[in-house]
């Protein structure tokens, strides 16, 4: 049976299109209005409201919770003090990424971890003799993401506690008299927050946020607008840009943090004394330089793009619809170098962009590659340049 989120009563009234995606078997609006691009612009120019509730959530608590997560997560959880959050990943013992997620540190011994897919069995088997409990609390929390340049002022009008909240900060506060948690996190690469609300109070909080945002260009945004923003922001998506190492059939479908562009998570590995799962393999990979590729951004050469379409007698399409599919990347001699996993035309960057896996010697920003795309029923090879992620990175995101 298909489920709905705690915000559904409001989101369903707002969804003019009747289009829904299934996200973890919950209804999630594809777009609310005839234009997902306008919703995307709400995120980049005002604020978008996105219902993130279907994310899997685990409460990890107990005297050994920190030790447990220290041994499981790639990033050092000890650096994440109460009142903070961390974007992190967990790996298998061969150093391949199982999944990524955000961990909120609610207290010294209490954490909330998000994941795209079920992970309870995986985590529980790793507890061993540690004094820690793991509980799935997915349905207990509704999550409302408020993303965009107006997000701070908008929430600031509802609670003063967010004004000074730093990037990846976490605070307990009240919105519309409801006790909530607010984290400065999101999946858009913009200034943004996520409000964690006990499910029963979801509508009260939605109404308070909705009321405070009227007349300011704030819109509910659907999955398509979110995907647009996340590609520009270089934020990876499970089963699109990578696969869980647990369920991959071959290593070709597995990826290490470095390969996934998450090498920054390992920056202090030498100073980190933890024995987390995958550490040895990761250290070996770094030492021996055995990473097979690195996920980076691609920016398609606009002249080449227009030229190829013109030559085919077509008007060069500039379609913002995110494409979650594989497209191959070549060198000048048309030897395959790697592949793109997500692509779109970026209205903010005014270019066709992609997230792509390219070999390390081609991963330096500015490296030239060719992206294969079909034009008029045949493959053509478009000049593209490797670029650092995030491709769109406004100062307000972290300021």
């Amino acid at each position: 049976m298909i489920r709905t989120t705690p915000f559904h009563e409001r989101t369903s009234a707002l969804n003019e299109t009747g289009l829904w995606e299934h996200w973890s078997n919950h209804l999630a609006a594809v777009r609310y209005s005839p234009s997902e691009k306008f919703e995307y612009f709400a995120v980049r120019n005002s604020a978008g409201l996105f219902d993130s509730s279907p994310l899997y959530k685990y409460r990890i608590a107990g005297p050994d919770a920190e030790r447990f997560l220290g041994g499981v997560l790639v990033r050092d959880i000890r650096a994440c003090r109460p009142g903070h959050a961390q974007y992190t990943a967990w790996c298998d013992d061969r150093g391949f990424v199982v999944e990524d997620g955000v961990v909120l540190r609610l207290g010294r011994e209490e954490f909330l971890l998000t994941a795209a897919e079920p992970n309870l069995d995986y985590f529980e088997r790793l507890i061993g003799r540690l004094d820690v409990g793991i509980e799935e609390v997915t349905d207990r929390w509704a999550v409302l993401a408020v993303q965009g340049p107006r997000a701070r002022a908008l929430l600031g009008a509802l609670t003063s506690d967010v004004e000074a909240l730093p990037y990846f900060g976490l605070t307990s506060t009240r919105i519309g008299k409801v006790p909530v948690m607010v984290s400065r996190t999101g999946y858009t690469g913009d200034l943004g927050y996520e409000i964690w609300v006990p499910a029963a109070d979801a509508l009260k909080v939605w109404d308070a946020v909705w009321q405070a945002s009227r007349g300011q260009g704030v819109l509910p945004i659907g999955m398509t607008a979110l995907y647009m923003a996340r590609i520009e922001a270089g934020l990876v998506l499970l089963d699109v840009d990578f696969h869980s190492s647990r369920f991959a059939w071959t290593d070709a479908d597995r990826t290490t943090p470095t390969e996934l562009g998450l090498g920054w998570m390992l920056r202090n590995l030498d100073a980190d004394d933890r024995e987390f799962i995958g550490r040895d393999a990761i250290a070996r990979e770094l030492r021996d330089g055995t990473s097979r590729w690195r996920l980076g951004g691609l920016i398609v050469d606009w002249r080449d793009y227009d030229r190829i379409y013109d030559a085919a007698g077509l008007v060069p399409p500039k379609d913002h619809t995110p494409i979650h599919d594989e497209y191959y990347v070549y060198d000048d001699e048309l030897n395959q170098l790697g592949y793109a996993t997500s692509q779109m035309y970026s209205p903010m960057l005014q270019r066709h962009i992609a997230l792509a896996r390219v070999p390390l010697d081609r991963s330096t920003p500015g490296s030239r590659v060719k992206l294969e795309l079909a034009v008029s029923h045949r493959y053509e090879y478009f000049d593209a340049e490797v670029a650092r992620l995030p491709l769109f990175n406004p100062a307000r995101r972290t300021a």
Partner: protein, 559 residues
């Protein structure tokens, strides 16, 4: 020897967020300080574009702007606290995409926001509302005429083909048909061969549009008055023609050639309006090293032995450069900045006959809230694009009838945009700004003048809005009327023509602004033109500025 002292920084340390921020440069004291590779007169979008391209090629460039703000007619002003008005130019479509890329505008805040709807109220209270949902649009059109739904598809297909064929002309220097230079002959032959390759229907459609009336073309496809009224509105903008006039097809085609993210005929609203856009352009120009001096009105171009050597400001200050570029309109470029005596008589004659006859005005409103359309109670999403008050071709033509005989329309055509619905930074929360382009408002009024009629025009426009949106007047917090005379006085566009010269066939392409002078040069060596009075013409397109820079750099390489 002249010494360089206290050289003005080419680029401000930090670009402030608010517009009108180009600093008045430190006083130029020595001749070296006042010497440049090129001086651009006029900091409108074409002047800035031209300067940016020249600077990008390594030239030391000075832009001299008469006003306290760059942008020319593309400015946004906070006329009431929290309310931002696009005083004149109000949307973006024809801007050449290559300029966005080559001048790296996205690094400086370029942000063309989609306008996702078009709303066409009707006099009987009905409406046509087009959105980004193509299937819904066909149903909405079918509500007015079932035949027009697929005719709409056919129209878009046919016109798209014409746009594809014509578009390259916007990005090329017109060949000089009066020259025997082999390079020009080759260019002309290439142009001919391009058209020869077109399908018969596409070429015929192109000629019909370029020479005929919008009404004839639209009547071939549609029967719905409101759809035709909406379509035909693009055939009269800024031009003294009605939809039934021969020549309106050209204006229609011109506007259909605009694009937003690759979609022909689509418009965008730049963050903070077109003034926001010209601020981005100024930042880009400065990043290439362009120096911008505000409040520096140029009195004349200095010439010596038939070539330009610099410019003199109204206060007597002189700046020197072997290249001087006028971004002003042809009348000012040829008849005011230089002496007509220095020019061939036939050129002076042509420019004197060049048609300006501005026919558009703006009335901008600060509103206490969003107007309500009775048939769409409680809704405001229809205001996220243009609101087109031109419900039939007859309505437009009757508005033209008044204009034809030297008076402003009793029921004018209005191209409205409630810009705060697209960019909330244009007005305080819950409030609105409405930009209303008004036509017809001829520059030359019969038996009156614009200083007398200005507020009467404002009342006329407000009355029309009241008739479609009952209660509109109660929302008005402030009204700003900008007549063609205001456009001329404020921006400097002769007779208030928004395109720096009419879009009439004898004033286009080979002949813009004058036969033999369509390649951005002038008879005075080192003196160039880059304004909208040159090919391909007006609108916030930037092509004249870019193409002129290409010619200047080519000439500099030759010399």
């Amino acid at each position: 020897m002249p010494k360089t002292t206290a050289k003005a920084p080419a680029k401000p340390a930090k670009a402030p967020a608010k517009p009108a921020r180009q600093a008045r440069s430190a006083k130029a004291t020595t001749k070296a300080d006042r010497t440049y590779d090129a001086i651009v007169i006029g900091g409108g979008h074409n002047g800035l574009t031209n300067a940016a391209y020249l600077a990008k090629a390594g030239k030391k460039v000075l832009v001299l702007e008469r006003r306290h703000i760059v942008g020319g007619a593309a400015i946004t002003e906070e006329l009431r606290p929290g309310f931002w008005f696009t005083t004149f130019s109000y949307a973006l479509s024809l801007l050449r995409p290559d300029i966005i890329h080559e001048l790296e505008l996205t690094k400086h805040g370029f942000m063309p926001i989609l306008m996702p709807s078009t709303f066409c109220p009707m006099e009987d209270g009905n409406y046509l509302l087009l959105t980004q949902d193509h299937g819904e649009n066909l149903k909405e059109i079918a509500r007015h005429s079932p035949r027009d739904a697929d005719a709409y598809e056919a129209f878009n297909h046919d016109v798209g083909k014409v746009c594809q064929a014509i578009k390259p002309l916007l990005d090329m220097v017109p060949p000089d048909i009066f020259s025997d230079d082999p390079e020009e002959l080759i260019a002309l032959a290439a142009l001919g061969s391009r058209f020869k390759k077109l399908e018969k229907k596409v070429l015929h459609d192109a000629v019909r549009l370029l020479t005929g009336s919008a009404a004839d073309f639209l009547d071939d496809y549609f029967e719905s008055d409101v759809l035709k009224g909406y379509m035909a509105s693009s055939s009269i903008i800024g031009t003294k023609v009605g939809p039934y006039s021969q020549g309106s097809g050209l204006v229609l085609l011109y506007h259909l050639l605009g694009e937003h993210d690759g979609e022909f005929g689509a418009w965008a609203f730049h963050k903070r309006g077109n003034g926001g856009f010209t601020q981005v352009l100024a930042r880009a120009a400065e990043s290439f090293g362009v120096e911008i001096r505000l409040e520096s009105p140029v009195e004349n171009v200095i010439t010596s032995n038939g070539r330009a050597t610099g410019v003199a400001l109204a206060d007597g200050t002189e700046f020197l450069a072997p290249v001087v570029v006028s971004a002003l309109d042809p009348r000012r470029t040829f008849l005011e900045l230089v002496e007509p005596r220095e020019l061939p008589t036939d050129l002076v004659d042509t420019i004197e006959r060049f048609r300006f006859q501005g026919t558009s005005a703006k009335v901008n409103f600060a509103l206490d809230g969003y107007p309500e359309y009775p048939a769409l109670p409680g809704r405001t999403d229809q205001y996220r694009g243009f609101t087109n008050i031109g419900p039939s071709m007859e309505y437009l033509e009757r508005a033209f009838d008044d204009g034809k005989y030297g008076w402003y329309s009793k029921r004018p055509y209005l191209d409205c945009a409630i810009q705060s619905a697209v960019d909330p930074d244009m007005a305080p929360p819950g409030k609105a700004v409405l930009s209303s382009f008004v036509q017809y408002a001829p520059y030359h009024l019969r038996e009156s003048d614009w200083d007398t009629e200005k507020e009467n025009l404002g009342d006329t426009v407000q009355a029309v809005l009241e008739s479609f949106f009952p209660g509109f007047g109660d929302l008005v917090l402030q009204r700003e009327v900008r007549t063609p005379l205001d456009i001329e006085r404020t921006v400097g566009l002769s007779e208030g023509n928004i395109f720096a010269g009419e879009f009439l066939a004898p004033q286009m392409f080979f002949f813009r602004p004058a036969p033999g002078w369509s390649q951005y040069r002038t008879p005075i060596d080192g003196y160039y033109q880059c304004g909208s009075g040159t090919h391909p013409g007006g609108c916030v397109m930037g092509a004249p500025g870019k193409l002129a820079a290409g010619q200047i750099l080519k000439d500099l390489r030759k010399n």
